[in-house]
Protein backbone atom coordinates (compact mmCIF):
# COMPACT_ATOMS: atom_id res chain seq x y z
CA UNK A 1 0.00 0.00 0.00
CA UNK A 2 2.65 2.41 1.09
CA UNK A 3 4.70 1.53 -1.97
CA UNK A 4 1.73 2.36 -4.19
CA UNK A 5 1.15 5.66 -2.42
CA UNK A 6 4.80 6.55 -2.73
CA UNK A 7 4.86 5.65 -6.39
CA UNK A 8 1.75 7.66 -7.19
CA UNK A 9 3.04 10.68 -5.34
CA UNK A 10 6.43 10.50 -6.99
CA UNK A 11 4.83 10.04 -10.40
CA UNK A 12 2.70 13.10 -9.75
CA UNK A 13 5.61 15.27 -8.70
CA UNK A 14 7.94 14.09 -11.48
CA UNK A 15 8.28 16.12 -14.63
CA UNK A 16 5.08 15.69 -16.59
CA UNK A 17 3.20 14.35 -13.60
CA UNK A 18 1.01 17.38 -13.41
CA UNK A 19 1.51 18.44 -9.83
CA UNK A 20 0.32 22.02 -9.41
CA UNK A 21 -1.68 21.96 -12.61
CA UNK A 22 -4.88 21.63 -10.62
CA UNK A 23 -4.18 24.87 -8.81
CA UNK A 24 -3.23 26.58 -12.02
CA UNK A 25 -6.46 25.46 -13.62
CA UNK A 26 -8.37 26.70 -10.60
CA UNK A 27 -6.66 30.07 -10.93
CA UNK A 28 -7.53 30.32 -14.60
CA UNK A 29 -11.11 29.43 -13.95
CA UNK A 30 -11.41 32.04 -11.24
CA UNK A 31 -9.90 34.54 -13.64
CA UNK A 32 -12.17 33.55 -16.53
CA UNK A 33 -15.45 33.86 -14.72
CA UNK A 34 -15.23 37.62 -14.24
CA UNK A 35 -14.48 37.91 -17.94
CA UNK A 36 -17.80 36.29 -18.57
CA UNK A 37 -19.78 37.72 -15.70
CA UNK A 38 -18.42 41.22 -15.65
CA UNK A 39 -15.94 42.99 -13.44
CA UNK A 40 -18.26 44.68 -10.95
CA UNK A 41 -17.66 43.49 -7.43
CA UNK A 42 -21.38 43.69 -6.71
CA UNK A 43 -22.04 41.15 -9.41
CA UNK A 44 -19.21 38.93 -8.26
CA UNK A 45 -19.68 38.86 -4.51
CA UNK A 46 -22.89 36.80 -4.43
CA UNK A 47 -21.56 34.21 -6.86
CA UNK A 48 -18.06 33.98 -5.37
CA UNK A 49 -18.69 31.01 -3.07
CA UNK A 50 -20.39 29.09 -5.84
CA UNK A 51 -17.70 29.80 -8.38
CA UNK A 52 -14.95 28.83 -5.97
CA UNK A 53 -16.61 25.55 -5.19
CA UNK A 54 -17.43 24.76 -8.81
CA UNK A 55 -13.86 25.67 -9.75
CA UNK A 56 -12.36 23.41 -7.11
CA UNK A 57 -14.68 20.67 -8.21
CA UNK A 58 -13.71 20.98 -11.86
CA UNK A 59 -10.00 21.16 -11.09
CA UNK A 60 -10.41 18.02 -9.06
CA UNK A 61 -12.39 16.31 -11.77
CA UNK A 62 -10.04 17.10 -14.59
CA UNK A 63 -6.95 15.96 -12.81
CA UNK A 64 -8.66 12.76 -11.85
CA UNK A 65 -9.77 11.61 -15.24
CA UNK A 66 -6.81 9.39 -15.90
CA UNK A 67 -6.11 8.09 -12.41
CA UNK A 68 -6.74 4.52 -13.52
CA UNK A 69 -6.60 4.99 -17.27
CA UNK A 70 -2.81 5.38 -17.32
CA UNK A 71 -2.37 2.26 -15.23
CA UNK A 72 -4.78 0.44 -17.48
CA UNK A 73 -3.00 1.40 -20.65
CA UNK A 74 0.42 0.30 -19.54
CA UNK A 75 -0.87 -2.91 -18.01
CA UNK A 76 -0.15 -1.97 -14.39
CA UNK A 77 -3.77 -2.44 -13.48
CA UNK A 78 -3.78 -6.08 -14.64
CA UNK A 79 -0.72 -6.65 -12.54
CA UNK A 80 -2.11 -4.87 -9.51
CA UNK A 81 -5.24 -6.97 -9.76
CA UNK A 82 -3.17 -10.15 -9.62
CA UNK A 83 -1.01 -8.84 -6.78
CA UNK A 84 -1.57 -9.57 -3.08
CA UNK A 85 -2.84 -6.01 -2.61
CA UNK A 86 -6.64 -5.95 -2.21
CA UNK A 87 -8.06 -3.90 -5.06
CA UNK A 88 -10.17 -1.91 -2.59
CA UNK A 89 -6.99 -0.84 -0.86
CA UNK A 90 -5.42 0.14 -4.15
CA UNK A 91 -8.44 2.29 -5.01
CA UNK A 92 -8.37 4.00 -1.64
CA UNK A 93 -4.65 4.65 -1.88
CA UNK A 94 -4.96 6.08 -5.35
CA UNK A 95 -7.77 8.38 -4.26
CA UNK A 96 -5.67 9.46 -1.29
CA UNK A 97 -2.69 10.20 -3.52
CA UNK A 98 -4.97 12.23 -5.74
CA UNK A 99 -6.30 14.19 -2.81
CA UNK A 100 -2.81 14.95 -1.55
CA UNK A 101 -1.60 16.13 -4.93
CA UNK A 102 -4.73 18.03 -5.94
CA UNK A 103 -7.10 18.61 -3.04
CA UNK A 104 -4.57 19.94 -0.57
CA UNK A 105 -3.03 22.53 -2.90
CA UNK A 106 -6.53 23.65 -3.89
CA UNK A 107 -7.48 24.16 -0.28
CA UNK A 108 -4.28 26.04 0.44
CA UNK A 109 -4.78 28.40 -2.49
CA UNK A 110 -8.52 28.93 -2.19
CA UNK A 111 -8.31 31.90 0.22
CA UNK A 112 -6.14 33.79 -2.26
CA UNK A 113 -8.55 33.17 -5.09
CA UNK A 114 -11.39 34.16 -2.82
CA UNK A 115 -9.78 37.59 -2.82
CA UNK A 116 -9.98 37.77 -6.61
CA UNK A 117 -13.70 37.12 -6.51
CA UNK A 118 -14.36 39.52 -3.64
CA UNK A 119 -15.35 36.86 -1.17
CA UNK A 120 -15.86 38.59 2.21
CA UNK A 121 -12.89 38.01 4.52
CA UNK A 122 -14.86 36.46 7.35
CA UNK A 123 -16.17 33.79 4.99
CA UNK A 124 -12.68 32.56 4.16
CA UNK A 125 -12.31 30.20 7.15
CA UNK A 126 -15.64 28.67 6.22
CA UNK A 127 -14.47 28.21 2.67
CA UNK A 128 -11.36 26.41 3.85
CA UNK A 129 -13.29 24.28 6.30
CA UNK A 130 -15.88 23.28 3.75
CA UNK A 131 -13.24 22.38 1.21
CA UNK A 132 -11.30 20.41 3.79
CA UNK A 133 -14.39 18.41 4.59
CA UNK A 134 -15.65 18.10 1.04
CA UNK A 135 -12.69 17.46 -1.25
CA UNK A 136 -11.90 13.95 0.05
CA UNK A 137 -15.35 12.92 -1.07
CA UNK A 138 -14.70 14.51 -4.47
CA UNK A 139 -11.50 12.51 -4.89
CA UNK A 140 -13.13 9.26 -3.87
CA UNK A 141 -16.23 9.74 -6.03
CA UNK A 142 -13.96 10.66 -8.90
CA UNK A 143 -12.02 7.47 -8.39
CA UNK A 144 -15.29 5.60 -8.67
CA UNK A 145 -16.13 7.34 -11.92
CA UNK A 146 -12.64 6.72 -13.22
CA UNK A 147 -12.96 3.04 -12.36
CA UNK A 148 -16.20 2.80 -14.29
CA UNK A 149 -14.83 4.49 -17.38
CA UNK A 150 -11.36 3.03 -17.33
CA UNK A 151 -11.51 0.96 -20.49
CA UNK A 152 -13.06 3.64 -22.68
CA UNK A 153 -11.07 5.57 -25.21
CA UNK A 154 -12.77 8.90 -24.63
CA UNK A 155 -13.43 8.37 -20.98
CA UNK A 156 -12.72 11.93 -19.93
CA UNK A 157 -15.98 13.57 -20.81
CA UNK A 158 -18.12 10.58 -19.96
CA UNK A 159 -16.42 10.49 -16.61
CA UNK A 160 -17.38 14.11 -15.99
CA UNK A 161 -20.91 13.32 -16.94
CA UNK A 162 -21.15 10.40 -14.54
CA UNK A 163 -19.40 12.05 -11.68
CA UNK A 164 -20.82 15.55 -11.72
CA UNK A 165 -24.29 14.45 -10.58
CA UNK A 166 -22.65 12.56 -7.74
CA UNK A 167 -20.90 15.74 -6.74
CA UNK A 168 -24.11 17.73 -6.35
CA UNK A 169 -24.80 17.04 -2.66
CA UNK A 170 -21.25 17.83 -1.69
CA UNK A 171 -21.36 20.99 -3.76
CA UNK A 172 -24.69 22.04 -2.28
CA UNK A 173 -23.70 21.66 1.33
CA UNK A 174 -20.23 23.04 0.68
CA UNK A 175 -21.51 26.31 -0.79
CA UNK A 176 -24.20 26.45 1.86
CA UNK A 177 -21.53 26.40 4.56
CA UNK A 178 -19.71 29.27 2.89
CA UNK A 179 -22.85 31.27 2.22
CA UNK A 180 -24.12 30.96 5.76
CA UNK A 181 -20.65 31.71 7.07
CA UNK A 182 -20.51 34.84 4.94
CA UNK A 183 -23.88 36.01 6.24
CA UNK A 184 -23.01 35.16 9.84
CA UNK A 185 -25.67 32.49 10.17
CA UNK A 186 -25.38 29.14 11.94
CA UNK A 187 -23.39 26.67 9.86
CA UNK A 188 -23.57 23.57 11.99
CA UNK A 189 -26.20 21.73 9.97
CA UNK A 190 -24.52 21.92 6.54
CA UNK A 191 -21.14 21.19 8.12
CA UNK A 192 -22.51 18.05 9.68
CA UNK A 193 -24.15 16.98 6.44
CA UNK A 194 -20.95 17.61 4.54
CA UNK A 195 -18.90 15.59 7.01
CA UNK A 196 -21.48 12.83 6.96
CA UNK A 197 -21.46 12.56 3.20
CA UNK A 198 -17.69 12.44 3.11
CA UNK A 199 -17.52 9.79 5.82
CA UNK A 200 -20.05 7.65 4.04
CA UNK A 201 -18.32 8.02 0.70
CA UNK A 202 -14.94 7.15 2.13
CA UNK A 203 -16.32 4.08 3.83
CA UNK A 204 -18.33 2.61 0.98
CA UNK A 205 -17.16 3.83 -2.41
CA UNK A 206 -13.84 1.92 -2.47
CA UNK A 207 -15.78 -1.31 -2.67
CA UNK A 208 -17.93 -0.09 -5.54
CA UNK A 209 -14.90 1.22 -7.37
CA UNK A 210 -12.96 -2.00 -6.93
CA UNK A 211 -15.91 -3.98 -8.23
CA UNK A 212 -16.13 -1.71 -11.27
CA UNK A 213 -12.43 -2.17 -11.91
CA UNK A 214 -12.74 -5.95 -11.77
CA UNK A 215 -15.49 -5.81 -14.36
CA UNK A 216 -13.45 -3.57 -16.60
CA UNK A 217 -10.45 -5.86 -16.47
CA UNK A 218 -12.39 -8.86 -17.72
Amino acid sequence: MLALLKRDLSLATRAGGGFGLGVAFFLILCALVPFGVGPESDALRPVAAGILWVGALLACLLSLDRIFALDHEDGSLDLLATSPLPLEGAVAVKALAHWITTGLPLIASAPLFGLLLHLPAHAVPWLVLSLLLGTPALSMLGAFGAAITVGLRRGGLLLSLLVLPLYIPTLLFGTEVVRRGAEGMATLTPVLFLAGITAGVLALIPFAAAAALRVNLR
Binding site: R14, D78, S83, L217
Partner: protein, 209 residues
Protein backbone atom coordinates in the same frame (compact mmCIF):
# COMPACT_ATOMS: atom_id res chain seq x y z
CA UNK B 1 0.56 -31.62 -5.50
CA UNK B 2 0.32 -29.75 -8.73
CA UNK B 3 0.64 -26.00 -8.85
CA UNK B 4 -2.11 -25.60 -11.39
CA UNK B 5 -4.77 -28.02 -12.53
CA UNK B 6 -7.13 -27.07 -15.33
CA UNK B 7 -10.12 -29.34 -15.94
CA UNK B 8 -12.28 -29.17 -19.03
CA UNK B 9 -11.93 -25.42 -19.30
CA UNK B 10 -13.94 -23.32 -21.73
CA UNK B 11 -13.17 -19.62 -22.15
CA UNK B 12 -14.96 -16.89 -24.04
CA UNK B 13 -14.00 -13.60 -25.54
CA UNK B 14 -16.36 -10.97 -26.88
CA UNK B 15 -19.35 -13.17 -26.12
CA UNK B 16 -18.14 -16.11 -28.22
CA UNK B 17 -16.48 -19.29 -27.04
CA UNK B 18 -12.86 -19.40 -28.02
CA UNK B 19 -11.52 -22.78 -26.87
CA UNK B 20 -13.28 -25.46 -24.86
CA UNK B 21 -12.49 -28.76 -23.19
CA UNK B 22 -8.93 -27.85 -22.32
CA UNK B 23 -7.35 -29.83 -19.47
CA UNK B 24 -3.80 -29.88 -18.21
CA UNK B 25 -1.81 -29.82 -14.99
CA UNK B 26 1.45 -28.19 -14.07
CA UNK B 27 3.68 -29.68 -11.37
CA UNK B 28 6.45 -27.67 -9.80
CA UNK B 29 9.42 -27.71 -12.13
CA UNK B 30 7.35 -28.04 -15.28
CA UNK B 31 6.74 -25.67 -18.15
CA UNK B 32 3.91 -25.80 -20.67
CA UNK B 33 3.89 -23.94 -23.96
CA UNK B 34 0.57 -23.11 -25.61
CA UNK B 35 0.55 -22.96 -29.37
CA UNK B 36 -2.11 -22.39 -31.93
CA UNK B 37 -2.98 -20.11 -34.80
CA UNK B 38 -3.75 -16.43 -34.35
CA UNK B 39 -7.06 -15.77 -32.73
CA UNK B 40 -7.67 -19.21 -31.31
CA UNK B 41 -7.78 -17.95 -27.75
CA UNK B 42 -4.36 -18.25 -26.15
CA UNK B 43 -4.44 -14.79 -24.63
CA UNK B 44 -7.97 -15.38 -23.41
CA UNK B 45 -6.98 -18.65 -21.78
CA UNK B 46 -4.00 -17.09 -20.03
CA UNK B 47 -6.07 -14.20 -18.70
CA UNK B 48 -8.61 -16.67 -17.37
CA UNK B 49 -5.91 -18.68 -15.59
CA UNK B 50 -4.49 -15.48 -14.13
CA UNK B 51 -7.91 -14.76 -12.67
CA UNK B 52 -8.56 -11.64 -14.73
CA UNK B 53 -11.70 -13.04 -16.29
CA UNK B 54 -14.09 -15.78 -15.23
CA UNK B 55 -14.06 -19.22 -16.81
CA UNK B 56 -17.15 -20.15 -18.76
CA UNK B 57 -17.05 -23.81 -17.85
CA UNK B 58 -14.70 -26.20 -16.12
CA UNK B 59 -12.46 -25.59 -13.15
CA UNK B 60 -9.08 -24.11 -12.38
CA UNK B 61 -7.42 -25.34 -9.20
CA UNK B 62 -4.49 -23.59 -7.69
CA UNK B 63 -3.35 -21.97 -4.52
CA UNK B 64 -4.46 -18.37 -4.10
CA UNK B 65 -2.00 -15.61 -5.00
CA UNK B 66 0.49 -17.74 -6.83
CA UNK B 67 0.34 -16.26 -10.34
CA UNK B 68 2.68 -13.73 -11.89
CA UNK B 69 1.15 -12.62 -15.18
CA UNK B 70 3.02 -10.87 -17.99
CA UNK B 71 1.35 -9.71 -21.17
CA UNK B 72 2.17 -7.36 -24.01
CA UNK B 73 1.85 -4.31 -21.81
CA UNK B 74 4.60 -4.50 -19.26
CA UNK B 75 3.15 -2.27 -16.55
CA UNK B 76 6.07 0.12 -16.73
CA UNK B 77 5.96 3.80 -15.84
CA UNK B 78 7.96 5.80 -18.32
CA UNK B 79 8.73 8.51 -15.79
CA UNK B 80 10.32 6.12 -13.30
CA UNK B 81 13.75 4.62 -13.76
CA UNK B 82 14.32 0.94 -14.38
CA UNK B 83 15.26 0.34 -10.74
CA UNK B 84 12.32 2.31 -9.40
CA UNK B 85 9.92 0.36 -11.57
CA UNK B 86 11.28 -2.95 -10.36
CA UNK B 87 11.43 -1.89 -6.76
CA UNK B 88 7.81 -0.84 -6.87
CA UNK B 89 6.63 -4.19 -8.15
CA UNK B 90 8.85 -5.99 -5.73
CA UNK B 91 7.28 -4.22 -2.77
CA UNK B 92 3.76 -4.67 -4.11
CA UNK B 93 4.34 -8.42 -4.44
CA UNK B 94 6.37 -8.65 -1.22
CA UNK B 95 8.94 -10.08 -3.53
CA UNK B 96 12.66 -10.43 -3.74
CA UNK B 97 15.56 -8.06 -4.22
CA UNK B 98 16.04 -6.07 -7.39
CA UNK B 99 19.73 -6.49 -8.12
CA UNK B 100 19.73 -10.17 -9.17
CA UNK B 101 16.79 -9.56 -11.49
CA UNK B 102 18.60 -6.68 -13.14
CA UNK B 103 21.64 -8.89 -13.55
CA UNK B 104 19.66 -11.80 -14.96
CA UNK B 105 18.12 -9.63 -17.65
CA UNK B 106 21.30 -7.67 -18.37
CA UNK B 107 19.82 -4.36 -17.33
CA UNK B 108 22.44 -3.14 -14.86
CA UNK B 109 23.88 -0.53 -17.18
CA UNK B 110 20.37 0.81 -17.77
CA UNK B 111 19.41 0.80 -14.10
CA UNK B 112 19.07 4.58 -13.80
CA UNK B 113 17.48 5.20 -17.20
CA UNK B 114 13.83 6.29 -17.21
CA UNK B 115 11.78 3.47 -18.66
CA UNK B 116 10.45 5.76 -21.39
CA UNK B 117 13.93 5.93 -22.89
CA UNK B 118 14.29 2.20 -23.49
CA UNK B 119 14.06 0.47 -26.85
CA UNK B 120 11.33 -2.10 -27.49
CA UNK B 121 13.51 -5.04 -26.52
CA UNK B 122 14.93 -3.35 -23.44
CA UNK B 123 11.41 -2.62 -22.22
CA UNK B 124 10.46 -6.21 -22.70
CA UNK B 125 13.52 -7.33 -20.72
CA UNK B 126 12.44 -5.08 -17.88
CA UNK B 127 8.97 -6.58 -18.02
CA UNK B 128 10.52 -10.04 -17.65
CA UNK B 129 12.74 -8.89 -14.79
CA UNK B 130 9.54 -8.04 -12.98
CA UNK B 131 8.68 -11.74 -12.91
CA UNK B 132 11.89 -12.47 -11.09
CA UNK B 133 11.17 -9.99 -8.31
CA UNK B 134 7.54 -11.06 -7.93
CA UNK B 135 8.51 -14.19 -6.04
CA UNK B 136 5.45 -15.98 -7.39
CA UNK B 137 5.73 -19.69 -8.23
CA UNK B 138 3.53 -19.77 -11.35
CA UNK B 139 4.48 -17.63 -14.30
CA UNK B 140 1.80 -16.99 -16.90
CA UNK B 141 3.43 -15.44 -19.94
CA UNK B 142 1.87 -14.15 -23.15
CA UNK B 143 4.39 -14.06 -25.99
CA UNK B 144 7.30 -13.30 -23.67
CA UNK B 145 10.08 -13.03 -26.23
CA UNK B 146 8.53 -10.55 -28.63
CA UNK B 147 11.15 -7.97 -29.72
CA UNK B 148 14.01 -9.78 -27.97
CA UNK B 149 17.28 -10.39 -29.79
CA UNK B 150 18.84 -13.86 -29.73
CA UNK B 151 21.11 -13.37 -26.68
CA UNK B 152 18.18 -12.01 -24.72
CA UNK B 153 16.02 -14.99 -25.67
CA UNK B 154 18.79 -17.23 -24.35
CA UNK B 155 18.92 -15.19 -21.16
CA UNK B 156 15.18 -15.62 -20.83
CA UNK B 157 15.61 -19.38 -21.21
CA UNK B 158 18.17 -19.41 -18.43
CA UNK B 159 15.85 -17.46 -16.16
CA UNK B 160 12.94 -19.82 -16.84
CA UNK B 161 15.11 -22.86 -16.15
CA UNK B 162 16.30 -21.38 -12.88
CA UNK B 163 12.71 -20.68 -11.93
CA UNK B 164 11.71 -24.26 -12.71
CA UNK B 165 14.68 -25.64 -10.83
CA UNK B 166 13.55 -23.62 -7.82
CA UNK B 167 10.20 -25.38 -7.80
CA UNK B 168 8.30 -22.91 -9.97
CA UNK B 169 6.21 -23.55 -13.03
CA UNK B 170 5.52 -21.62 -16.22
CA UNK B 171 2.65 -21.45 -18.68
CA UNK B 172 3.50 -19.64 -21.89
CA UNK B 173 1.87 -18.77 -25.18
CA UNK B 174 4.12 -18.18 -28.13
CA UNK B 175 4.48 -18.50 -31.88
CA UNK B 176 8.25 -18.66 -31.99
CA UNK B 177 10.82 -20.99 -30.61
CA UNK B 178 11.75 -20.21 -27.03
CA UNK B 179 14.65 -22.66 -26.89
CA UNK B 180 13.08 -24.53 -23.99
CA UNK B 181 13.28 -28.10 -25.21
CA UNK B 182 12.24 -29.64 -21.93
CA UNK B 183 8.89 -27.83 -21.94
CA UNK B 184 5.74 -29.68 -22.92
CA UNK B 185 3.78 -28.22 -25.79
CA UNK B 186 -0.01 -28.03 -25.96
CA UNK B 187 -1.47 -27.17 -29.32
CA UNK B 188 -4.87 -25.57 -28.86
CA UNK B 189 -6.06 -26.19 -32.41
CA UNK B 190 -8.07 -29.34 -31.56
CA UNK B 191 -9.85 -27.51 -28.77
CA UNK B 192 -11.22 -24.73 -30.91
CA UNK B 193 -14.87 -24.21 -30.05
CA UNK B 194 -16.97 -25.76 -32.78
CA UNK B 195 -17.04 -23.31 -35.67
CA UNK B 196 -19.70 -22.38 -38.15
CA UNK B 197 -23.37 -22.93 -37.50
CA UNK B 198 -22.73 -25.01 -34.42
CA UNK B 199 -20.80 -22.30 -32.67
CA UNK B 200 -22.54 -21.52 -29.44
CA UNK B 201 -22.68 -18.00 -28.02
CA UNK B 202 -21.28 -17.76 -24.50
CA UNK B 203 -23.60 -16.93 -21.67
CA UNK B 204 -27.02 -15.25 -21.34
CA UNK B 205 -28.58 -18.68 -21.27
CA UNK B 206 -26.39 -19.37 -24.26
CA UNK B 207 -28.27 -16.60 -26.06
CA UNK B 208 -31.53 -18.53 -25.75
CA UNK B 209 -29.85 -21.71 -26.98
Amino acid sequence: MSLLAVQDLAVSRGGMRAVEGVSFALEPGQALILRGPNGIGKTTLLRTVAGLQPALEGRIDMAGDCVAYAAHADGLKGALTVTENLRFWSSVFDGGPVAPALMAMDLEHLADRPAAALSAGQKRRLGLARLLVSGRPLWVLDEPTVSLDAPSVARFGVAVRAHLAGGGAALMATHIDLGLDEARVLDLTPYRARPGRDARPAGFNEAFA
